[in-house]
């Protein structure tokens, strides 16, 4: 299918590459179909481009690159929405916020991760109940600040 985007021009997207967010992404519930695009450089980011809204796209990053211990636990509702069954490959990506006034001050929304089921191509944005930051500074992580709690992020099982 042809997909018009404001950032990348017109793309030709294979049906099997489409991702469905049955509940949408919070704040954008009316758009449910997206595609994951590689950025055309060696940077590890990807773009989650909506195929129904040319302007709507998010920069996402695999949390293993900056928070190797990041984990999420999925409740039954989330698993049902992902049409998940045992043995399915699920992966998590984090949405990045890149402020236009200073693009180097990138933050990662660890509180609202996106989970993808590779078999069903269904995805969901989770809202983690733990006290996890929505604006985790991405390029600060190498600096250890004494007095701050351990960076372990284990969402408690639902």
């Amino acid at each position: 299918m042809k997909c018009r985007t404001t950032r990348f021009g017109t793309l030709d997207i294979a049906e099997e590459a489409l991702l469905t967010f049955p509940s949408g992404i919070l704040g954008f519930a009316e758009w449910t179909r997206y595609v994951l695009l590689d950025h055309d450089t060696e940077a590890p980011i990807k773009w989650l481009q909506c195929v129904e809204n040319p302007e709507l796209a998010f920069v996402v990053l695999d949390p293993v690159l900056f928070k190797p211990d990041y984990q999420v636990a999925l409740g039954e509702d989330a698993l049902a929405e992902l049409e998940s069954r045992e043995g399915d490959d699920l992966s998590v990506v984090i949405i990045l916020t890149i402020p236009s006034e200073d693009p180097t001050r990138v933050t990662a929304n660890l509180r609202g991760p996106l989970v993808m089921n590779h078999r069903t191509r269904r995805c969901k944005q989770l809202v983690l109940s733990d006290d996890i930051p929505t604006r985790h500074p991405l390029f600060d992580t190498a600096v250890s600040r004494p007095g701050t709690p351990a960076t372990s992020l284990q969402a408690t099982a639902c």
């Binding site: 919070l26 060696e42 796209a57 998010f58 920069v59 944005q125 809202v127």
Partner: protein, 85 residues
């Protein structure tokens, strides 16, 4: 919106297995106890609002600090099999 008046210790039941009880009222604040099955997500309104707000900001991304991202992938050893576990 259904509006109900409840006193301390009284509650409301929603559906077959969600119960909300008023535990206490003090200085303009109400303490609620919520009993719900583990598969029902319960969040303060602000949590959803914050993630929505963050998503809206993230959707406005224009410039990408590519150099910083390249350093991130070097630091984490992605693409370098020697540093992979």
């Amino acid at each position: 919106m259904l509006v109900l008046t409840r006193r301390r210790g009284e509650g409301v039941t929603i559906g077959p297995n969600v119960r909300i009880v008023v535990l206490g009222i003090k200085g303009g604040q109400v303490r609620l106890g919520i009993e719900a099955p583990s598969n029902v997500e319960v969040h303060r309104d602000e949590v959803h609002a914050r993630i929505q707000e963050e998503n809206r900001m993230a959707a406005g991304t224009g410039a990408i600090p590519l150099e910083a991202f390249r350093q991130l992938s070097q630091r984490s050893g992605v693409g370098d099999p020697r540093r992979r576990r």
